[in-house]
Each structure stands twice: as structure tokens, then as C-alpha cells.
Symmetry: C2
Amino acid sequence: MASIPPGVLGALDPTSDRAAFRQIADQLREAIDKGRFKEGAKLPSESELVEHYGKTRMTVRNALGILQGEGLTVHEHGRGVFVRPRPPVKRLASDRFARRHRDQGKAAFVVEAEAAGSRPEVDSLEVREERSTPDISARLGSARKVLARRRRYLLDGKPVETAVSYLPLDIARNTPIAEPNPGPGGIYARLEELGHELDHFEEEVRARMPAPDEVKTLRLASGVPVIHLVRTAYDTDGRAVEVCDTVMSADAYVLAYQLPAS
Amino acid sequence: MASIPPGVLGALDPTSDRAAFRQIADQLREAIDKGRFKEGAKLPSESELVEHYGKTRMTVRNALGILQGEGLTVHEHGRGVFVRPRPPVKRLASDRFARRHRDQGKAAFVVEAEAAGSRPEVDSLEVREERSTPDISARLGSARKVLARRRRYLLDGKPVETAVSYLPLDIARNTPIAEPNPGPGGIYARLEELGHELDHFEEEVRARMPAPDEVKTLRLASGVPVIHLVRTAYDTDGRAVEVCDTVMSADAYVLAYQLPAS
DNA sequence: TAGTGGTCTAGACCACACC
DNA sequence: GTGTGGTCTAGACCACTAT
């Protein structure tokens, strides 16, 4: 068993009211923040920490659990505990749905990702007709049945986002929108060809901890929240023609918006 | 010790590969999701769960720790574990900085909150000159020193947001902007009076788990992420005149934006 | 095979809330 | 005082990774 380099971690203060496992977590957190453990570096093993602090393994594990909950570390069974690397984030610009970005043969996600030097993938593509939920109905203005397009997006092999688009059946049924591949420019281009010229989009942004199925689908490290984004597309008649419900790994994205001052 | 109503929680599957504490967490999560425990309701105590499942207290506590990490429960020392109530969220509309909302005698936060039936407060107000960080300098276009305006917002006594505004000293020094109370319409109104007519704002939105000091300041329950929002205000000359760095309790807000289609 | 983290037992004492 | 959750001990066995 290797030992911990001197000066990296201090000693506990037995007179403190702060629980031992919190003090240990504080010291590890500080060491990470100050770069004494760099991104991707391995923290001391549990047995090293047990020896260093003179506490039992359970206490040390509680401390490590705090860091895990804060998203600072990833724990790999049989290997060790590592400082979680901060992956490069993808910036979603406020003009990402502008018509001028739509004249490509590829989907917007693919174009943007390749421009950023990443390897994009789309999988789990599923298109089917469904009964609408009350929330989707309210946003679409009372469609009982909808066309649902589900997919998952990956960057460099890592899942980053799931999305479900809901469209009223009277618009989408028996059109290219109901095909797995809707063609160049995506469903927004098809909607405009079908006479629904797009006017604007509304997006609602929330953040929360993921549900267990989201952890699985997005392969989320523990301590990583999700951004929940619901976008509604309106045509020039003021009709809601699509609702897109998106769940994104929060460590993969930064959203950018522009707001008018007037 | 009361006992658990029959049918609410099942039994463990000893043949399953899934760890006992995960199975217990699954059953409690399902019971919460299905409304068998309602918002604010008390879950069975640890000793009740120990008896029900025939596992030790440590195993039961691990299960409860999962739910806590998911933000599903709040744990109150000496009282019990409760289903976390979903507080009403405050909707931040995309036109919230429009000039027409600025002609009030009160701050925008106060006006909106009162309209929504909440009791708003602003505290921890602090205004001072500071050295700029590299990030703020880059956003403002190289101001070495800045005026920093720090404050914390509360709704009905609960802290929901901290914000720091940074303004270049050559704009803000010796103006009402440097006063604790900048007057009606806030600093944006003062900026326009000083000749910096506002053109637009840019916002960057991220989500992450809070740092320990943010947990304290915002009194965050465990399992609640924060929304980190950085807004830059530009005047009609294209100059960045303010950067506002905001950390919001993610369970208190939903952000709404409008995007153009053209 | 050795080292790592994951799960679990069976206790103990403490701090806090409520009656 | 009783019941609650918070902290901690001192073990045990297992599963996974690396060599």
C-alpha cells in the first residue's frame, strides 16, 4: 500500500463539532479544488485514508460518498476513486434553429458536432403514434393523438441527450415527418414545406437530479444533474406545431440565449 | 412503533443481483411516484423499515441515502424522512428585462413576486469595488477593476437566488449604480440614463450540483442542483456594460426563452 | 494473486424533536 | 422519556481490475 504524499491532506480536528467524515470530505475537496489532485487523478484508496486519518473504513466511505454526491469524483469498482474530468461542453446557441442553419443534408446536431471536432451519433430512433399526455395536449392545443419521434444523441460515444418530438397527427401523419429519416433540414424543414412556416420557438428550462432510467440511458455519473428542456414550435398562424421534450446531461451542455432589451 | 400499512411496500427478492439497499430504495421510490406517500408525508422510520425488510439499519440507511441524493426526500434529524414537497416554481419570462417592465418604483424581482402572490425579500446587499477575474474581464472586454453588486433574493422566507453584478468602473463609479439602492427601475434604468441605451442581453445557462457554500447560502436540500446563469448586457454601441452572475436553486425556477425562427 | 471498491452485519453512543 | 435520525466502530465476505 502506497502512502499519501505529505502536505496533501491534513489531520482531523477532534475538538471540532464537524463530523469526522465531513472533515475528511472537506480536506479532499480542498485538495481537488487547489489542484493537488488533478482531473482524472486517482485519490488515495480507502485503506490509505483509513490509515492516514485513523478512522474506520465506513467513516472514510461516507466522506467519499459526499464528494460523489457533489459530482466531484467518479468511483470505479476495483480501480479506485478519481477526480471527475470536466468534459468539454457543447454550446447551444440562441440561433440554432434559424432557417439559415437548416439547408444542410444533415441534421443540425451532426453538423454542429462535426464543426466542433466531435463524433456525433443518433440512435434509439423510434417513430410511432401515441395517445397524448395532458401536458403535451395543453402545449399543442388539444391533440388527442400525436406522432412521437424519440431519439438519443451521443458525442464521441457518450450519450448526452434524449429527445422526444410530439406533433399533431393531422399535420404529421403520412408525411416524411413520420419516416425515421425525415430528410435534409429535419422535421422543421418538412413542416415548412407542408405550409407551416415557422414563426418562433418557446423553450422552458429546468434542472433536476435524474430519475434512475435517465441515469441508465444517459450513462450519467452520480452527482450529475440533468437539464430538462421543453421546446414548442409555433407557425405564423400562431399554432403550436411541435413540442420537443429534451433531457440533457448537465455536464455536456451550456445553453445560450439572447434577450431583447425593448 | 407503528407498522407499515400492508401493500405499500413489498418484499426483497433474495435471488436478485440487485443489492438489498437498492431494492429497498426502488420500492420506496415507486411508492412515492405512485402517490402511496404524498408530498410532505413521512416515510416509515428506519426501525420500521429494519423490521419490515429484515435488514440492518445500515442497509436501510443506504437505501434512504439514495432517495436523498435523488432529491426525492428531505431528512429531518429527530423527526423523520419526508417526501420532498415540490415548491411552486417561479417562471422567468423571456421579456423580463424589457424596458416596459422597468418603469416601476420597485425592483423587477419584487414586482413579479408580489404579482405571483409571494413575499419577496432582498438581503445581503453589498456594493464594492473589486479586482476583476479573467472570466469577467473577458466578458466585459478588459476592465481591470469593476463595481460588484452582491445580493440574495428570497421568496416567502426561502432563499432562491444569489446574484453578483459586475460593471466597469468607468461607467458605474460615482453614480447611483454604486449606491445600495440604485432607485426605480434598477441599474438597467440608471445605465440608460447615463447614456448606455441597452440593446440586448446574452444569457448562458448551466446546471450543476452546488458547492458547500451555495448549499449554505441558498439553504438547499440535498439532491437539489443549481442553475448557474451568466447574463451580459450590451448597449447599442455593442459594448458589454454589465455581467450578472446568478446562482439559483433549481427547484425554485423555470426559465422561459423565445427563439426566432428566421 | 493482490488491491480496490461494494455490500452487509451487529452492535454503540449521540443530538434533536416531541410530548 | 421516547422515538427519531446522525455518527462511528470492527469486523466480514464479495465483485471487479490489474498483473
